[in-house]
């Protein structure tokens, strides 16, 4: 897309805390959960640039819920990539707000229960209730076909941003074989069968489409 040298990224706290080492653009690191606030500040200074945040499920759906909801409601002109693997990876496999019922973690060793920890959060569905966002889609990284679809969603989010639209959000279902206690193929299978059943893939909001 020719966006290198025109893009500013914000890395989160969590297992993607060193995301700034993997992406060859200007980046800063945000305090845990605050990436959408940081991106809102960056956006005020550089209205012409492409801005994105890269956040995990603990960062975005737990500690950073206030920031993401308000950034989305303001229709902030940046893109958030939400990597949902349903577990705290960096700290060693604790229950996340997106951990499924029955899923084992180091803080729910017999599996998450509704009685003890409530229900997992569906972020795309939640943000889609707001009038601020322009594009919300959930994709999965479980197969080559889905990865190609995910790439399309990423591109679309950036295209919307370049077209001057407001908040764009792509949730990417992802595995964490280590903390799920599964082999990579088993983890892929679980993501396809169990995770995507609770978090259905698809477009939750698309003002570009609605306008057509």
């Amino acid at each position: 897309m020719g966006l290198l040298g025109k893009t500013i990224g914000v890395a989160p706290i969590g297992c993607s805390v060193v995301a700034h080492q993997f992406m060859n653009v200007d980046m800063c690191e945000a305090a845990h959960g605050r990436a959408p606030a940081v991106a809102s500040g960056i956006r005020r200074v550089h209205p012409e640039r492409v801005v994105f945040t890269y956040q995990g499920d603990g960062d975005l759906a737990s500690i950073g819920m206030g920031e993401i909801v308000h950034a989305a409601a303001r229709g902030e002109k940046f893109t958030t990539f939400f990597i949902n693997n349903g577990i705290y990876g960096m700290t060693g496999g604790q229950m996340a707000p997106t951990t499924l019922i029955g899923q084992r973690s180091t803080t729910s060793v017999d599996g998450r229960t509704r009685e003890q920890a409530g229900m997992p959060l569906k972020i795309c569905e939640l943000l889609a209730t707001l009038d601020g966002p322009d594009y919300i889609e959930r994709v999965s990284l479980d197969s080559p076909a889905h990865i190609r679809a995910a790439k399309k969603a990423v591109r679309k989010a950036f295209e919307y941003q370049l077209a001057g639209k407001g908040f764009t959000f792509v949730e990417l279902l992802s595995t964490c074989p280590t903390n799920w206690g599964l082999t990579p193929p088993e983890a892929m299978k679980r993501m396809r069968e169990e995770v995507a059943a609770y978090y259905p893939l698809g477009v939750y909001k698309d003002t570009g489409k609605e306008a057509e």
């Binding site: 980046m27 200074v45 206030g66």
Partner: protein, 383 residues
């Protein structure tokens, strides 16, 4: 120079930082400083700037972090409990070396406390509540003019050191009106100018080496070297940013130490005491960090019976005063809290009590140490 205008404190503060080069405001409503976001929401868009009301103080400080990391001159105002919520952000800003100007129009605590003036944020602002080794310069002006001058300068100081700078006022200063001379507006960088002016900033521009702004340093030796580097900066700040006003120290019998509005009250008390034959001096720290410890060497220890801190807290500044006094003379406290203010008469009466007690004690002590020594200014024939 511009002409003198009569302005309310909070509005003068806001005007001063805009003139000092600030173009971005982030804040969350809190008494007693809400006139500042109101003023900024009206004025910044007219001057090529942007106003953003944050969803919380956590949001505000992190928006300012993004703004500063991107090379913008950001400004945040809040009051005590709001400043408490921003402590994590301040630690991040210091660790990642991101500039911002902060204004704390402080009120009473602990907890939600009261909305009346207070100075019980002293430890919060000078010691900081965030994690890790970091420091933030804090200035405590005593008049609206002094606040205007410091706030005008603050964005430049923040940029120079790539560190947050805080100005501490209180509810009294925010709400009162005084004549001020506003300085000439300074140039503020446009987004096009930022990549050249601040090559370290994340401006998303083609400039060779990409920029990364972060506080994470996972390798111990790298983090150690970074903290050492921060402390070299802080050492320089200690040399360059210390500010203090000393008055009447020579021959003073009591010396007040007070900052902000309490210094004004102490000055009134000084005049009243002088009229009653007690010579009072004052050390007024303008920078609370770096604290002007050396100023205390200027106390006339031959004449001074006690150093008295006049504070709107339970004596949070006493620790620093004692570090300056080094046991050379007793240190005492006159204070009110909870939003209560002492009157200058109350300060005078309490000072006289302290003075008499210590003058008598000093006399006794001298008599014991030097039984034959004449102590002329009390009992000429004693000994």
């Amino acid at each position: 120079m511009s002409e003198k205008v009569l302005m309310k404190g909070n509005e003068a503060f806001a005007e001063a930082v805009i003139r000092g080069g600030v173009r971005f405001y982030f804040g969350y409503p809190i008494t007693p400083q809400s006139e500042i976001p109101e003023f900024m929401s009206r004025e910044l868009p007219k001057r090529g700037g942007k106003f953003l009301q944050a969803e919380s103080e956590l949001g505000a400080i992190n928006m300012a972090y993004g703004c500063g990391a991107a090379g913008g001159n950001g400004f945040i105002s809040s009051s005590s409990p709001g400043i408490a919520l921003m402590q994590e952000g301040m630690s991040f800003l210091c660790g990642a070396e991101v500039p911002v100007t902060l204004l704390n129009v402080s009120r009473g605590g602990p907890g939600i406390g009261s909305i009346q003036p207070g100075q019980a944020d002293y430890n919060q602002v000078t010691r900081g509540g965030g994690n890790g080794d970091y420091r933030i310069p804090v200035f405590a002006p005593a008049s609206i003019q002094e606040a205007v001058d410091i706030l005008y300068e603050a964005p430049g100081i923040a940029d120079k050191y790539r560190n947050p700078v805080m100005v501490l006022a209180d509810g009294l200063m925010g709400q009162m009106m005084e004549p001020v001379v506003l300085p000439e507006p300074r140039h503020a960088f446009t987004s096009e100018e930022i990549p050249a002016a601040k090559p370290w900033a994340i401006s998303g521009s083609e400039k060779g080496e990409r920029s990364v702004v972060k506080s994470l340093r996972l390798q111990p030796e790298v983090l150690e070297a970074h903290v050492e580097h921060l402390y070299e900066k802080y050492a320089e700040m200690e040399k360059e940013l210390e500010r203090v006003e000393c008055e009447n120290l020579e021959g003073a019998e009591v010396v007040f130490v007070a900052f902000g509005t309490m210094a004004r009250l102490a000055r009134e008390a000084m005049e009243m005491l002088e009229a009653q034959g007690i010579k009072a001096g004052m050390i007024r720290p303008i920078s609370l960090w770096p604290y002007p410890y050396k100023a205390f060497d200027g106390i006339d220890f031959n004449t001074t019976k006690a150093v008295i801190s006049v504070e709107l807290s339970m004596g949070q500044m006493l620790q620093d005063i004692n570090l300056g006094v080094k046991g050379r003379v007793p240190v005492r406290l006159i204070h009110r809290v909870g939003g209560m203010l002492p009157t200058s008469l109350e300060v005078v009466e309490k000072t006289k009590k302290i003075y008499k007690r210590h003058a008598a004690r000093q006399h006794q002590l001298l008599s014991r140490l030097h039984p034959r020594r004449r102590t002329p200014h009390h009992h000429g024939d004693a000994g």
